[in-house]
Subunit: 335 residues, 2 copies
Amino acid sequence: MPHSQFIVGVDLGGTNIVVCAMSADGTRQHGLHSEPTRAHEGADAVIGRMAQMVNETINVTMRETGVSRDAFRGVGVGAPGPLDREAGVVLVAPNLGWRNVPLRDRMTELTGLDAAIDNDANCATYGEWWIGAAKGGRNVIGVTIGTGIGGGMIVNGELYHGSSDSAGEIGHTTIDQTGRRCGCGNYGCLEAYASGTAIAERAREALAYDTASILPDLVDGDVSKITAAIVYEAASRGDAVATEVVRDTARFLGTGLANLLNIFNPDVVVIAGGVTQAGEALFGPLRAEIRRRAFKMAVDACRIVPGTLPGTAGVVGAVATFIAQRGAQLSPPLR
Amino acid sequence: MPHSQFIVGVDLGGTNIVVCAMSADGTRQHGLHSEPTRAHEGADAVIGRMAQMVNETINVTMRETGVSRDAFRGVGVGAPGPLDREAGVVLVAPNLGWRNVPLRDRMTELTGLDAAIDNDANCATYGEWWIGAAKGGRNVIGVTIGTGIGGGMIVNGELYHGSSDSAGEIGHTTIDQTGRRCGCGNYGCLEAYASGTAIAERAREALAYDTASILPDLVDGDVSKITAAIVYEAASRGDAVATEVVRDTARFLGTGLANLLNIFNPDVVVIAGGVTQAGEALFGPLRAEIRRRAFKMAVDACRIVPGTLPGTAGVVGAVATFIAQRGAQLSPPLR
């Protein structure tokens, strides 16, 4: 696809919908904007809003570039999984209250554009690979750490989906088989230790034993308001309790990522989401833990990097996944 | 390659060398035999013995099939890793005492045949995929449980090697980050719980607390002689201590494999090695543990099966890896 062609990307999250248009060669981005998802209004309302946002983005792009509507080849949508890419259906999305929603065909009906869908964590990984921190990687693991922990995998330059579209559930790998209970029902999942939710929870637990911390002050004494971001903030100010929580996070995450290095031997692991705000306080001990636990050959082959597309990796990857699903070779710009 | 062409496979293990010839279509096997490795004699002696075995196998195959020496296209060798496939060099093989041995070129010198090498665990997986229990699989994990735990991965019908030829180190994934010390120096590796060595060790530990067991009788009172095979034997006779050890093994292995299902979403996991002797006493609780820990979509997509090429998966896979490395499409027979 020449670069005078555009694709619209949509990142459908539990909280926000993000939309933008990109040139097919990945060099130009237009009409980036976001709106609240308001999932409680139901699937029809949400999909209607997405279609409206797509049209707004198209209009902005046409104004900014002078291209006509014919230049828009389609819409890629990153949606919470599990989903059936072939059928274009979101099977189950607890955060949205969706079940068996034919998202792809509804988008086409409402926008008149060809559409493709993929898992949001896959899209975020693909976006970072296409034009972000994982550019140039051949075998890439993407880890998105927010409320939960999502994962995506690129094998030989292509998104890997597994045998039933459910590969990459990195958050639900066991690092301690008799460990903390996870939301999935299992014990000792990485997500139960290193998600944003778990980070806040462990901070609250730590405060029960060690009260010499500025954390309570940062939330006006209401520890239920502690978030992962507040933990990073306190750690950056030298708070001992928060620093320990961040260090433990690095240890847990390092164990989970070392497993991935030993299994998958990637050349890039890109970490996205709020956790990257913790900066070197996290990445330093994280790399150390991975070196401790993974084989040298695997460690030497791999760079562990924070994502460089905060907030937009998903929408960029949604564009990329449309291009790839339509059979075009995705060649990152400037590579 | 038409099936009137033959490839010789060599499986180089710490204890034995296994050699056979196979037709390029995988339907015929000739001249299968094995000899002790005798690694203490040094790399030259071992490689010399391998070359001699290759020639014997070629002679037997010529006699049995009437083909001429021209029909033999090359030699595939499965060797302990890590190795550099491109250069044909075994980098480090502690069991053999090898370091930077140019195995591929030495084999070519001594046999006059083109040669290719790959990791032994990769070969075993490839063999089971080509004509064994994983036939028909698209995304396959192979786990070989012996002294240690080796692994191999097939992605979209091709062996996956990772970014520095070190993918598939399944035995060294952490399932309990503060757990048992592993030979690799790490804590809580799957291998430290579920390898043959670890199974025997856990049985000895169990006997310290529970002496009502036939295990000591099976080794004439010398518990240092307990092996994993003896544990399976005792379990099959209803011994409570041994049964518990096997059940625990299933739980540990199930945790490790559930991680692989959630990450990789394979359609087949094939388990090879002595551990398969434990039969349903292992595979029953193993499948149950995987169901408990892995996502339903991943579990439903995957069959967990014992290998069907005991003792020969490696040598069969060595043939397959030669064919694949020479650029030919490997099409399993009868598929």
